[in-house]
Amino acid sequence: MTILELENVGKSYGNVHALRGVSLSVRQGEVTCVLGDNGAGKSTLIKIVSGLHAHTSGSVLLDGQSVHFGSPRDAQSQGIATVYQDLALAPLMSVWRNFFLGNELRKGFLKTLDIAAMKRICASELSKMGVSVPDLDRPVASLSGGQRQCVAIARAIYFGARVIILDEPTAALGVKQSGVVLRYVVKARDAGLGVIFITHNPHHAYLVGNHFVILKLGRVVLDAHRDELTLDRLAAEMAGGDELAELSHELRGVAVPPDTAS
């Protein structure tokens, strides 16, 4: 079942066309991978779907209805959660305050923060992800990169009802931490969420993806289901096919010193 659909979406910043005619659909219980090199338009795409920027052409359909998200809060309230590359965590705030930032639990007449409940939920959600933070009052800045990533993902999944967007979640992580994150991507998919997984690593994408879209200079250059692809083909397409062959040819030329070649 398709939850979110983009039809010919474009975005211009003045005379710069960051995104042109991008179509994409996110289905329930599937991982849609968006791949692309730096500057391909991945970030712009996320910003449109998460409500930070408005698209300038085409349409975004949520459950078949055309929508324009006015703000991240608007997108969130319609069930679209985003985990940003910079994680959107305030470094000096404690772990539990960050976890519930923007979605604080309150109780009583004075709408006091329900700190006990928030700490309890935060601890249990984090332990589900395999992260143990002994003191939830510690500032987020004191956690490791992988732990911070997990806090951000656990938060998005706990609050993000239907679609979760992951912006390069494995970019800054080691092999083991990436594995943890990818496992969580699969968990989110199996829980019936639609996942948009943004990455420039075709190996990570192929491990979890159902559907693959490659962006290049703001346009879609490949849009294929898993059945139609192999990892090698995906990696080659991602690297730009012919360009990669050319590059390897060039590098081979450089690597061979001229005197031994003659």
Binding site: A90, L92, R97, G102, N103, P134
Partner: protein, 346 residues
């Protein structure tokens, strides 16, 4: 199937931190230490400081700074400055006096119009900041000079003088005086009503900051505004709200000035903004935002109250007060930094 290590094991590299370390890593610790040291210092060198009756005077001095230090601290935690806070107090006092006196109104009408104006100045600061994207240092430096000029210019136009005309014989003065400038005597000590306002504001400020959703938002917009916006925190309204809170407290301070002295000098207030900021910094607020304490800022104000009078009582030349402030500021920030590092290492 191969066995994998269980995911949710306790990480044995991280031990829980001792209670003392957790207490020491609180932002207000530096100011508390400084307050105790200064208290002991003046107790030792200044004989009148030991006189119980002077507690009221010291607390009064602290309260006039504290009423403003509380919202200024909140604003700094929210990542912004307000350099116009000092003259805004004078603007509030003057506008109340001039409006009531010029149009022959009940002083309470002047009080309410002044409230609207003071909060509007705060809102304007916030709006201009968000609209232009300029740093708050520049925006409020601009309003600081604008207000300073307006205070002098309008007062001279309206009264031909540099101070507002006395309003003690006008309708409603007695009741307004009771609200903004009365005092009660308990034993040998005179307590001004500003002390009550200061304590109440501190309590409300600390409660809002630590126990409400808005407090969470204040920390977040100061710590990382982009992150806060991304998770749905209304960054703009939070910041504008903080500036308006500064405006509200400037009004309260201005009303006290007006009804305490019955007239307001139009050149007053310049330089006060730094004292509010210093009180907040001594109390543990970071200049970069996202960290700090309302209680700390109030302790900072108390340090000022003690120092201001202590220097007098000790018979030292009050010329040295500013030097003392500078030294205090440096010492307190260094102590804060040092204590925080030590506590975080443990």
């Amino acid at each position: 199937m191969t066995t994998t290590a269980p995911l949710a094991t306790q990480d044995d590299r991280v031990a829980s931190r001792p209670l003392a370390a957790r207490l020491l890593s609180r932002p207000e610790v530096g100011s508390l230490v400084a307050a105790v040291v200064i208290f002991l210092l003046f107790m030792a060198v200044a004989e009148p400081f030991r006189n119980v009756a002077n507690i009221g005077t010291i607390l009064y001095g602290a309260s006039t700074i504290g009423i403003m230090a509380v919202p200024v601290a909140l604003l700094m935690i929210g990542g912004e400055f307000d350099l116009s806070a000092g003259v805004a107090v004078t603007t509030a006092g003057l506008s109340g006096a001039l409006l009531a006196w010029n149009f022959g109104l009940n002083v309470w009408v002047g009080v309410l119009l002044s409230l609207v104006l003071a909060v509007a100045i705060g809102a304007f600061n916030g709006w201009l900041l968000l609209r232009t994207g300029l740093p708050s240092f520049l925006v409020t430096l601009g309003t600081f000079f604008i207000l300073q000029g307006v205070n002098l210019g309008v007062t001279r136009l309206a009264t031909g003088n540099v101070a507002s005309a006395g309003i003690s014989d006008m309708d409603g003065f007695a009741s307004a005086h009771a609200v903004f400038a009365s005092q009660v005597t308990i034993g040998p000590i005179n307590f001004k009503i500003t002390i009550l306002y200061w304590l109440v504001l501190t309590l409300i400020g600390a409660y809002v900051l630590l126990r409400t959703r808005i407090g969470n938002w204040i920390f977040a917009v100061g710590g990382d505004a982009a992150a806060a916006r991304a998770v749905g925190v209304p960054v703009r309204s939070t910041k504008v709200g903080l500036f308006m809170a500064v405006g509200f407290c400037a009004w309260l301070s201005g009303m006290h000035l007006l009804f305490q002295f019955n007239t307001v000098q139009s050149g007053e207030g310049v330089g006060k903004e730094f004292i509010f900021i210093i009180a907040a910094v001594i109390g543990g607020c970071l200049l970069t935002g996202g960290y700090g304490s309302v209680v700390g800022a109030s302790i900072g104000a108390l340090i000022f109250g003690m120092a201001q009078l202590g220097i007098n009582y000790a018979g030292w030349n009050p010329d040295w007060f500013r030097t003392f402030l500078g030294v205090m500021l440096l010492l307190a920030t260094i102590v804060n930094l040092y204590v925080k590092r030590r506590a975080d290492l443990r």
